[in-house]
């Protein structure tokens, strides 16, 4: 292995952060309509797009490496594993990195169509956001996960109010305050877990949580619940999902499309912590989240799709569909078997791409409808009815899960995985019902906007989206079609990824080294170095 290959796992974090720093040094175009800054904006676009393209190649390489089954652990500063910061790239992480790049590239391309000039330092903040996302996906340490959450959140606060306006500041303030409260809960959960296990390394936690017994196990379970609240908030799990539609609908289209992956960070964390650490082999704390997670996930899907039916604007409709899709993925997570997880992974990749594409499409359509904009009322016809109509149909069919699009394949895998589960009836009826209602919601929106047009109203001055804007949207939706074409290899990959997630020993060996599982140390540390581990209490 060459030196460069050895550094691969850290590059998805370093690349965006280095680009962001370069972009900050390059300077800004000077705010609204400053002509002299235009050359700077052009260079910022080239640098930013080039970096994201490089990131895409990098993550594709990591996926290819991970597909072989090897778990790559990278010890930052070469500190030994449970004590230093470990970055881990397994199949799941690599897939999430690739998904982030796949969403980021078209979204950034779309943003260079004009949105990036509506505020300052868009590209630098965008890169910091990618750094936080990639970091959260590669880190193998719970506290480090908190740090990367904060990096991606503080970038998202700025992106959220990008373009400004009263509504964005109002909703943005709610978003920031809610996230800060969630961060406080995250810290409480993490430190409680540290107090009882003496480690925050995910691989080490998976080995130590099963050993915690008695009253201490209750405290560990309490921290698991706290973490579920935090991750559920990020993922928009049912009682905590009401902030999402307002926030995403207020953000500008490229930002909302990028945020489609932010909910998946929460899902990813639930998967890693509640699926694996508190999974089947966690002793007294095994399956701690299960009794609540499945009903809540089913409820999230239902509430999401009902919200979509009630939405009055296209952007809110798409935002509610984000909630519904997260619910479906979490249903797959809470099935707790390899085939369910595989279905969840497949569906998550597809739904993220579709939702991101829908956010961009919503703005394209709204721009061509004159004063009605994105409100779901009859208005003048759009300038490009055929093109936008076909894109809408494609996205709707994929979101609702009609064959032969990947939404259908993902849902079929999910239904198969849930047979013989005690909740089979609930899962089947919810997943199928939600698909049907999604179709109704999108069909209603589509027929109002494309068929129920009023010729008596003045047409929009907009002659049609520029090739760049349409191209970026098309790219995202084409990616979902590609998922259908290459369904077999992707499915093999997700199945392998799900099996790899269940294999806690292999993960521990890769991260903690060959001595890994057998290592005995005096943790949690109680002050007496010579005391036997776990037995001593202060």
């Amino acid at each position: 292995m060459t030196w460069f290959e050895a550094q691969l796992p850290v590059l998805p974090v370093l690349l965006p952060s280095a680009t962001a720093i370069l972009l900050l040094l390059l300077g800004d175009h000077g705010g609204y309509g400053a002509a002299h800054g235009h050359r700077r904006l052009l260079w910022a676009r080239r640098l930013s797009l080039g970096s994201v393209l490089l990131g895409l190649l990098l993550s594709a390489w990591l996926v290819r490496e991970a597909a072989g089954g090897e778990i790559r652990a990278y010890l930052v500063g070469d500190w030994p594993a449970p004590f230093g910061i470990a970055l881990v790239v397994d199949r799941f992480s690599a897939l999430m990195l690739l998904l982030t790049s796949l969403v980021a590239l078209p979204v950034l391309w779309y943003a260079t169509g004009g949105w990036d000039g509506h505020g300052r330092y868009f590209h630098a903040i965008f890169q910091f956001q990618l750094m936080g996302l990639n970091g959260a996906f590669v880190t193998g340490d719970l506290f480090n996960l908190f740090v990367f959450f904060e990096v991606l959140l503080i970038a998202s606060y700025v992106l959220m109010v990008h373009g400004q306006g009263i509504e964005r500041f109002r909703v943005g303030l709610h978003y920031v305050v809610l996230n800060l409260v969630a961060s406080a809960l995250f810290l409480i959960g993490v430190s409680l877990l540290y107090a009882k296990t003496g480690t925050l390394n995910l691989a080490d936690l998976a080995l130590r949580v099963p050993r915690v017994q008695g009253p201490d196990a209750l405290l560990v379970q309490a921290s698991a619940w706290l973490l579920l609240v935090v991750f559920g908030f990020k993922a928009a799990l049912l009682p905590l999902s009401l902030w999402l539609p307002a926030t995403y609908a207020a953000a500008c289209a490229p930002v909302a499309a990028l945020f489609a992956i932010m909910t998946k960070v929460g899902v990813y964390a639930i998967w890693r912590v509640h699926g694996v650490v508190f999974g089947s082999a966690a002793g007294e704390s095994a399956y701690v989240a299960v009794p609540l997670l499945l009903p809540l996930a089913l409820g999230t899907s239902l509430v999401g799709v009902l919200g979509a039916l009630a939405a009055r604007t296209l952007e809110r409709l798409v935002a509610w569909l984000t909630v519904a899709s997260v619910g479906t993925v979490l249903v797959a997570v809470s099935l707790f078997n390899a085939s369910g997880w595989s279905a969840g992974l497949y569906y998550m990749v597809n739904s993220t791409l579709v939702v991101a594409g829908l956010f961009l499409l919503a703005e394209l359509v709204a721009a061509q409808r004159g004063d009605a904009a994105d409100r779901l009322v009859p208005a003048s016809p759009v300038a490009q009815p055929t093109l936008l109509g076909v894109l809408m149909l494609l996205a709707a069919a994929s979101a609702a899960g009609l064959p032969p699009l990947p939404g259908f394949i993902g849902k079929l895998m999910l239904l198969e995985a849930s047979t013989a589960h005690t909740w089979q009836l609930a899962v089947w009826s919810t997943v199928l019902g939600v698909g049907f209602l999604t179709l109704i919601g999108l069909a209603r929106a589509g027929s109002i906007m494309f068929w129920h047009v009023r010729d008596d109203m003045p047409g929009s001055a907009n002659a049609g989206g520029s090739p760049k804007l349409v191209g970026a949207t098309l790219l995202l939706l084409a990616a979902t079609v590609a998922m259908s074409v290459f369904a077999a290899p992707i499915q093999r990959y997700t199945e392998a990824a799900a099996r790899q997630l269940e294999d806690r020993d292999a993960y521990a060996r890769a991260v903690l080294g060959a001595r890994g599982p057998a290592t005995e140390t005096t943790r949690p540390y109680t002050g007496r170095v010579d005391a036997a581990p776990a037995a001593a209490k202060p």
Partner: protein, 119 residues
């Protein structure tokens, strides 16, 4: 015993005050509430390394060492909390400036009817 009791009730009291402030309708008390909760959480992390007296977290001659890791974690949490508080203050000010009201829901100020005490 008394140190643990004081420590636990102190954290609980600060969090209670923080939650009360967080539920107020104006952005300024909300920011104060967030800061208080942040302090309480920082002290909580510190306490999760167990409470020690006269035992520095540095290798030396003394027989008992405090756990240095929560102290390192709390430093990170303090820095992040400081930065985010700065940001939320700036955002609240901007929201107040653009919206003409520091109500968290952007409701316009109605003199004497907002029920938020004298302003």
């Amino acid at each position: 015993m008394s140190m643990e009791f004081l420590f636990a009730t102190g954290i609980g009291w600060i969090v209670a005050v923080g939650i009360y402030l967080l539920l107020r309708g104006r952005s300024f008390p909300v920011v104060l509430g967030l800061s208080l909760i942040g302090y309480a959480v920082n002290v909580f992390i510190f306490g999760m390394g167990r409470l020690w007296s006269a035992s520095p977290p540095i290798l030396g001659t003394q027989p008992v060492l405090a756990d240095p890791l929560p102290q390192a974690l709390v430093l990170t949490a303090i820095v992040i909390g400081f930065a985010t508080t700065g940001f939320v203050i700036e955002l609240a000010l901007r929201s107040r400036h653009d919206g003409g009201s520091d109500h968290v829901d952007g409701q316009p100020d109605a003199p004497g009817k907002d029920g938020e005490g004298p302003r």
